[in-house]
Amino acid sequence: MLEIRNLSAGVGGRQILKGLDLSVQAGEVHAIMGPNGSGKSTLAQVLAGRADYEVTSGSVTFNGASLLELKPEERARAGVFLAFQYPVEIPGVNSTVFLKAALNECRKARGEQELDAVEFLAVVKKKTALLELDPALLNRAVNEGFSGGEKKRNEIFQMAVLEPRLAILDETDSGLDIDALKIVSAGVNKLRRPDNATLVITHYQRLLNYIVPDRVHVLVRGQIVKSGGKELALELEERGYDWILEDPASNGKP
């Protein structure tokens, strides 16, 4: 589904990703872990199409199409979804109006009928229940005045509504208490299907207790230096990241 080859990218003239390779198949959950500043969030932003990041080499293929040539909205319509680490507050833009417009753009791109207000409301009702989100929040402006936990839950709620093929969760666990973490994880797990995939970006292993990955990759200094099964996450939790940097076996590509 997602093939990243030798991806190098940076921002403001600073190189952050340095030849990253990653392959994700439909139905899989991959975790990307790594120390602060290793390039995890840059990877997420580059995949979503943030213009501030400049790709200097490499390719990203998503379901056979070259992702890097698409605008952010085209990527979203093709089924890429980024759950932001820091969701933006957008005063004056009503949550419901925003999400209905987004869903109908995605549905149009998939060749599906646009939903009218009543149909959309039915979708919202179902998905807010899934995330145990107070539907009253949707009367407000996008993310405005939401607590940290509500913002993160709102990201996963949007994901539930838009039904992407590839979901990228950028530090979705940060700022969540244990109850919220369980709700968000349960939501993500319920949305798993054989034809979609999830990329979980996290600093801590904790989230991976609830969203169990098929593969775990360690990102250090812009490259994936080690890959393994879910047990690798536990090892990182126990030993930190330093040993990987010193491990001769991890110098090459996984």
Binding site: E73, A76, V88, I90, P91, G92, A102, C106, A141
Partner: protein, 446 residues
Amino acid sequence: MTDTLAPTDRKPAHAPFFGGALGPGPAWLQSLRQKARGRLDEIGFPTTDQEEWRFTNVAPLLQWPLHPAEPASRRIGPADIEPFRLAGDGYCLVFVNGRFRPELSTLPRPGAHVQAGSLRAQWNGGAPEWEKHLARHAGCDSNFFTALNTASFEDGAFVFAPPNAAVGQPVQLLYLAASDRPGAAVHPRNLIVADGGSSLKVIETYASLTEAPHLTNAVTELALGPGAHVEHGKLQNENERAFHIATVQAVQGADSHWLSHSIATGARLARNQIQTLLNARGAEAVLNGLYLARGEQLTDHHTLIDHAQPHCQSHEFYYGILAGRSHGVFNGKILVRQDAQKTNAKQTNRNLVLSESALIDTKPQLEIFADDVKCTHGATVGQLNAEALFYLRSRGIGAALARRMLVRAFANDAVERVTLAPARERLEKLLTEWFEGLDFPLSSHD
């Protein structure tokens, strides 16, 4: 001063304005008119050398032979009025080229809670309120166009809410320009009196039925008695070749509340002076403004809140959106006089600049002579938030729609402050049309 530049062959400043011909009316009004005309020459036609007109060059106004607007060249019927009328059961006074058109208007029945009709109907023995207030509040000493209006106005609206009248239906004053010949001038004059304890909502709408350049030079005076509540809106959407100059002057009694809206989207050059005198303890004013400009438009708001008495409050919010090669001017003056202790005044001016060629000049002007007061002001100039734009696009919303959503969002607070529902609906429609017509230059990031 004017004496340093007074060549002997200089034409009087009122010469282009049909020689400052005086409008009609009873003797007391004639004497006010004469006084006003006398001021014209002393003030002189505004130039950018004058601080009050530094950014707003009105000289292009003189490029056409200005003439008093003639009656509309074609029949103007209800179908022409319909697009501008507020929905609902409100009253509507229609003026076409400055002439009152009762057959197109919806007027209150005699004996209703409110009086609304043409000023001319008051010429002979009208309500005592009109003689008490007309041309008594909008100062002619320094404002050329106000003096010109006072000298020349032919007609306008008189709206009067008697003591304790709770007027349910809004009153719309609809001014339509319908000239084909360039340079038609109209000087609308409105007097709105809300007596003690009354409540009243008045919306002035200015629009054009043709594309010809024309001049509107409007003056509205509002007198709010003790405890009166008035919502007053001015919606200016004239064609983009028009010159629109207006003064709104309120005078507020004790514990009165004035909610003012000035929404300006039209005209090539629009200058609005929105002013209130907080003239007794406990008066409160909320000044809400929204100006949108694109192309070559110039839109200028000068506001003045005169805190003359203690324990008064003012809250001012002016928002501007500037696209194309447009130019916005905001000058917000708050005057707190020596007696005006315990004044609470707050001013906010926010500007969204959508193109590199658009320009905004914003200036708060606080003059405070009392010592126990709370006054704050803030002005911002910014562009669309790139993070918010990316967030919307990352959910599948196209760049153009995402921008429109964010621009619309910027105007949202100003729209929400309009409490009169039909006026808000009308404003929403106006904004939607305006935003759809916006041509965003796409950046390399798209």
